[in-house]
C-alpha cells in the first residue's frame, strides 16, 4: 500500500538541522544500530516514508521509498518470480530498503549476483544542505553525470538521507540445490577458487566447521549436469542454512566475543589469527569470532590486501572500520563536505571526523 509522501517533511527536518548546525541520526527499521559507531543527534525515522512507487516485472526494475520494509519488497518480487540480486540480510523483520542500501551489506549470493551498489540504478536523496536531489534513474544504463547513486551504497547515511531507491532485480532461478561436503578450510578455499573459474551455476559458497556448502541455482537440467560435474561426494542439505548465515541467526553469530568481518581476495589461504572462522563469498568474506587485538586482526588482514570491520561486540574503543591511508581519508572528508557542508548527517557513524 502506498503511504503518504513524506519527502518534504523529511527535507524540512534536515534543512532546519542544517540551519542550526545540529547533527541528525538517520534511522530505518533500527535493525543495524550495532553496525558502525553510535552517533549523536536527533533521530530522523524514515520508516513511515514507505511504499513501492513503480514495479514492472518486464523492466526488471523496482522503485520504492526508502522506508519500505525489505520483506514487503521481497514478497512483491516473489509474486512475479523475481528477487533482489544482492540478497540483503534481515537483522530484523523491520529492516528497510534505505537501511539495506545505506549499509551496503549483501548476503551469500554477493560474488555471483553482485553487491548492493551493483543493483542500484538511482536514488532520491536529501543532502546535508536540505536539498532534495535525484540521481540515476530507472534504467539499466545511465552515464549522465557523476554516479552519485551508487556512491550512497555503504555510505551509512553520512552523505545524505535516502528518500527512494531504484534497483535492478533478477528473475528467480527455477531450481536451487544446496550441497555439502566434509572439507578442511584450506581445501575449501582451493576448491572454491577452482570452481569459480569454471562455468558452473554456483550462487553461494561457504565453509564452516570442517564442511563446505555450495548453492547451485538454475534450471533443473542444468543443476543436475553441474552436480554430476562437481562429483558424487557432495550431499544434499537443507536450504535454511543460507538464510541463517545471511541473517546471522546461526549459532556461530551468537557468541559474545568480538565478531570481525574480513574482506580479502577470495583465494587468500587461511589466515593465522586465533579464533573461530566462518568463510562466505567463496573465500572473499570471512567471519572471525576472536578476542585477538584489533592491531593483530587488521595487520594480518591488510598484509593480504584486505580490510577488517569490527562488526559486532566491540568494546567501543576500537574503530569499527579499517583505517584509511591519510590522502584517501582527506578525500573522504572533502567529499563529505561537498554533500554535507555542516557535517550534520550521521556524523562519526563510519569514521571519526566524517
Amino acid at each position: 500500500m502506498i503511504q503518504q509522501d513524506l519527502t518534504e517533511p523529511l527535507r524540512e527536518r534536515v534543512a532546519s538541522a542544517c540551519a542550526g548546525k545540529t547533527p541528525v541520526s538517520i534511522r530505518g527499521g533500527n535493525s543495524k544500530s550495532f553496525y558502525g559507531h553510535p552517533c549523536e543527534g536527533e533521530i530522523i525515522d524514515v520508516s513511515p516514508h514507505s511504499g513501492v512507487l513503480e514495479y514492472e516485472p518486464s523492466e526488471l526494475v523496482i522503485h520504492a521509498r526508502a522506508g519500505t520494509a525489505l520483506t514487503d519488497i521481497e514478497r512483491l518480487l516473489d509474486q512475479h518470480r523475481q528477487m533482489l540480486a544482492f540478497d540483503p540480510p534481515h537483522f530484523s523483520p523491520k529492516s528497510t530498503l534505505g537501511g539495506a542500501v545505506a549499509s551496503g551489506l549483501a548476503g551469500p549470493g554477493r560474488p555471483f549476483t553482485g553487491s548492493v551498489r551493483d543493483s542500484v540504478l538511482g536514488v532520491g536523496l536529501i543532502n546535508g544542505s536540505g536539498e532534495t536531489l535525484s540521481f540515476g534513474g530507472q534504467v539499466m544504463k545511465n552515464v549522465a553525470g557523476y554516479d552519485v547513486s551508487r556512491l550512497m551504497a555503504g555510505a551509512l547515511g553520512t552523505l545524505g538521507l535516502l528518500t527512494d531507491v531504484s534497483l535492478k532485480v533478477l528473475p528467480k532461478p527455477a531450481s536451487v540445490y544446496t550441497l555439502q561436503q566434509l572439507c578442511s578450510q584450506q581445501d575449501a578455499i582451493l576448491r572454491f577458487s577452482e570452481w569459480m573459474a569454471k562455468p558452473l551455476p554456483l550462487s553461494a559458497a561457504c565453509w564452516f566447521d570442517d564442511h563446505l556448502y555450495l548453492r547451485l541455482s538454475g534450471t533443473e537440467t542444468g543443476l543436475r549436469q553441474a552436480q554430476h560435474q562437481l562429483g558424487e561426494t557432495l550431499l544434499e542439505q537443507a536450504p535454511d542454512w543460507w538464510t541463517s548465515i545471511r541473517d546471522q541467526q546461526h549459532d556461530f553469530f551468537q557468541r559474545q566475543t568480538p565478531l570481525w568481518r574480513l574482506s580479502v581476495p577470495p583465494a587468500t589461504p587461511p589466515l593465522s589469527i586465533h579464533g573461530e572462522w566462518l568463510i562466505d563469498w567463496a573465500g572473499g568474506q570471512r567471519w572471525l569470532s576472536s578476542g585477538e587485538s584489533a592491531e593483530t586482526v587488521r595487520g594480518i588482514t591488510a598484509s593480504v590486501s584486505g580490510h577488517a570491520t569490527l562488526f559486532r561486540n566491540g568494546d567501543g574503543t576500537t574503530g569499527a572500520f579499517h583505517p584509511l591511508p591519510a590522502p584517501l581519508f582527506n578525500l573522504h572528508r572533502r567529499l563529505k563536505q561537498a554533500l554535507d557542508p555542516n557535517g550534520i548527517m550521521n556524523p562519526g557513524r563510519m569514521y571519526k571526523g566524517l
Binding site: 573459474a197 574482506s263 561537498a338
Partner: protein
C-alpha cells in the same frame, strides 16, 4: 569555459616541464591527429600533447599543471563518441597510449591488472587460454582502451546479464590533479570507506587520471547460442523482448535493429539478415549446455507465438559470429550509405519503445533526415543514427537539433540522455534538462573535492549553471534557436 591558464606561453611552460623530449608533441603536424576523438563533428588542435611512459611522469605532469593552472584532458584510444577527449586550445592533451602493458594475471582470484592503454579485447585474448574473459564488450572493443572504458563506464551488447564496466572492475590507481596517487578499490570484493570506484567510473576524466585498472575476469560460458527473429513491426519485436524477460529468462544479449539498419548491415557484412523485415531481434543465451538447450527451445516457442515470422538458430559458432558481426558493424555499415551520421545514445524504460520510435520516425520526416535504429533492447539503450551530409549547408545544425529533441524525449519518458557513450561535449546542453540547478551544483561541489581549480577536462560532462541559463533562454523557443547565424558555444 573559464580561462584557467596562468602560463599562456607554451615555451615557458615547456621549459619548466620535466619530461623527455620524445614524450612531447608540439609541432602543428604532430598535434593535428589529436584534434578530435570518435566524434569528429567537434575538433580543436591541442595546445600541447604529452605522452608519458611512467606513473611518476603522469604525477609530475599533473602536479606541474596544477601549479601553473594549466588544464588537462586525458585521452585513451580516442574512440569515444561524445567528444570527451576533445582537446583544449589552452591545455595539455595527456595521452595514455604508451601505458599498454598487461601487468599481472591473478588466476586464483580471476583478476587482471592492466595499464589504462591496454585495448579492451586484448584482455580477453590474453586470458582466453585459461577459459576466462573480460565481459564488457563495447562495439569498438578492438580499438578502445580500458582506461577510457572506465572513464566512460562503457557498456556493450551483454550488459543486461553481465553489467557495465563499473560491475566488472575491482580497483584503479588514480592520479589526482595535484599529483597525488590514490589506490581505489582492492582485490577483495569491497573496500573500506566510500565506494569511490563507483563514483570515478564514468566520471569522464573530470576527477582524476586513471593509470592502472584491475578488472574482474569471468569463466567463458560452456556454450552460447543465438536466435535471429524477424518481425513485421518494431512494436511486435519490442513486445517480444518484454515477454522474454517476464518469462524469467535473462539473455546474455538481446539486440534489435530496424529495417534501415538491417539493410545497411546486410549489404556490408552479409550477416544473413532478412532484408525485408521491419525489425530483427538477436537473442543470445549462454550457460551450460543443458541449460541453453532448454532455454533456446523456450525462447523459440515464445518468439513464434508472439508473431515473429521467421526464427532461426545459428547452426554453428561461425554463423553465430556472423549474426553478431552484422550488429557490431551496424555503425560503419550506416557510414557506407550516408556521407555522415550522428549517433544518439539515450536510454528509455523499454515499455516506451513503441512511442519513442514512432515519434523519432515522425520527426525524421519533418527534418527530412533518415534515421536507422540500433537498440540494446535488453537494457533499453537506444542508438538512433541520424543520416546527414555535413557538406550540405545547415544539415549538421538540423541534425544536432533533431538529436537534442530525441534526448529530451528520452528524459520525458523517464530515461536518460546517455546510456554508455557519455555526455562529453556533445550532450552538455541536455544535461541542463536532465538535472536541476541543485543537482548540477552538487556535481560541481563533488568535482571541487577532487579538483578544486577545475583543471581536469573543463567544459565537459557537467555544464556550468551559466551555460544552462543561456541554453534555457534559447530552449524556450521550442527548438527554434534565435540568431541561427551566430556561432553556438
Amino acid at each position: 569555459m573559464e580561462e584557467t591558464a596562468d602560463i599562456t606561453d607554451r615555451d615557458s611552460f615547456l621549459a619548466g616541464l620535466e619530461l623527455p623530449a620524445h614524450c612531447i608533441l608540439s609541432e602543428e603536424a604532430e598535434l593535428r591527429p589529436y584534434e578530435c576523438d570518435g566524434l569528429s563533428a567537434y575538433h580543436q588542435v591541442p595546445w600541447l600533447v604529452l605522452l608519458p611512459e611512467t606513473v611518476q611522469q603522469v604525477r609530475s605532469i599533473l602536479g606541474y599543471c596544477h601549479q601553473c593552472k594549466v588544464p588537462v584532458v586525458a585521452r585513451g584510444a580516442g574512440t569515444g563518441l561524445s567528444g570527451g577527449a576533445l582537446p583544449l586550445a589552452n591545455g595539455v592533451l595527456l595521452s595514455l597510449a604508451r601505458f599498454n602493458n598487461i601487468l599481472d594475471i591473478d588466476l586464483a582470484n580471476r583478476l587482471a591488472r592492466v595499464q589504462p592503454g591496454v585495448r579492451n579485447l586484448a584482455i580477453s585474448q590474453a586470458v582466453a587460454q585459461h577459459g576466462l574473459y573480460y565481459a564488457p564488450d563495447p562495439s569498438s572493443q578492438i580499438a578502445c582502451s580500458i582506461g577510457g572504458n572506465v572513464a566512460e563506464n562503457a557498456g556493450g551488447v551483454h550488459c543486461l546479464k553481465y553489467g557495465l564496466t563499473v560491475h566488472n572492475i575491482a580497483a584503479i590507481e588514480l592520479v589526482c590533479m595535484d599529483g597525488e596517487l590514490l589506490s581505489i578499490g582492492s582485490r577483495a570484493l569491497d573496500s573500506a570507506g566510500y565506494d569511490l570506484l563507483a563514483l570515478i567510473t564514468g566520471s569522464e576524466g573530470l576527477l582524476g587520471v586513471i593509470v592502472e585498472v584491475t578488472v574482474r575476469l569471468l569463466p567463458v560460458p560452456e556454450t552460447a547460442q543465438v536466435l535471429l527473429a524477424a518481425f513485421d513491426s518494431v512494436e511486435t519485436a519490442g513486445h517480444a523482448v518484454a515477454k522474454i524477460i517476464s518469462a524469467g529468462i535473462l539473455p546474455a544479449g538481446l539486440e534489435m535493429m530496424d529495417s534501415l539498419a538491417i539493410r545497411a548491415a546486410e549489404d556490408f557484412v552479409h550477416a544473413g539478415y532478412p532484408n525485408d523485415a521491419e525489425a530483427i531481434l538477436l537473442c543470445e543465451l549462454d550457460g551450460t549446455r543443458a541449460e541453453v538447450e532448454a532455454l533456446i527451445s523456450e525462447v523459440h516457442e515464445l518468439l513464434t507465438g508472439l508473431g515473429a515470422r521467421d526464427v532461426r538458430l545459428a547452426k554453428d559458432d561461425q554463423e553465430r559470429r556472423k549474426f553478431w558481426a552484422g550488429r557490431k558493424a551496424a555503425f560503419p555499415a550506416v557510414g557506407r550509405i550516408s556521407p555522415d551520421y550522428y549517433c544518439m545514445d539515450g536510454t528509455i524504460p523499454r515499455k516506451h519503445l513503441g512511442k519513442v520510435l514512432s515519434t523519432i520516425s515522425q520527426w525524421s520526416s519533418e527534418y527530412d533526415l533518415p534515421v536507422a535504429n540500433v537498440f540494446h533492447a535488453g537494457d533499453g539503450n537506444l542508438h538512433p543514427l541520424i543520416l546527414y551530409d555535413a557538406n550540405k549547408s545547415g544539415e549538421l545544425e538540423r541534425t544536432e537539433e533533431f538529436g537534442g529533441r530525441i534526448l529530451e524525449l528520452c528524459i520525458s519518458v523517464g530515461g536518460t540522455i546517455t546510456g554508455e557513450h557519455g555526455v562529453g561535449m556533445e550532450k552538455i546542453n541536455q544535461m541542463c534538462i536532465q538535472f536541476n540547478e541543485d543537482e548540477l551544483r552538487q556535481f560541481h561541489a563533488i568535482k571541487k573535492a577532487f579538483d578544486p581549480h577545475g583543471l581536469l577536462n573543463p567544459g565537459k560532462a557537467i555544464p556550468t549553471l551559466a551555460r544552462c541559463a543561456e541554453f534555457g533562454r534559447m530552449h524556450v523557443h521550442g527548438g527554434e534557436l534565435p540568431f541561427p547565424e551566430l556561432e553556438r558555444f
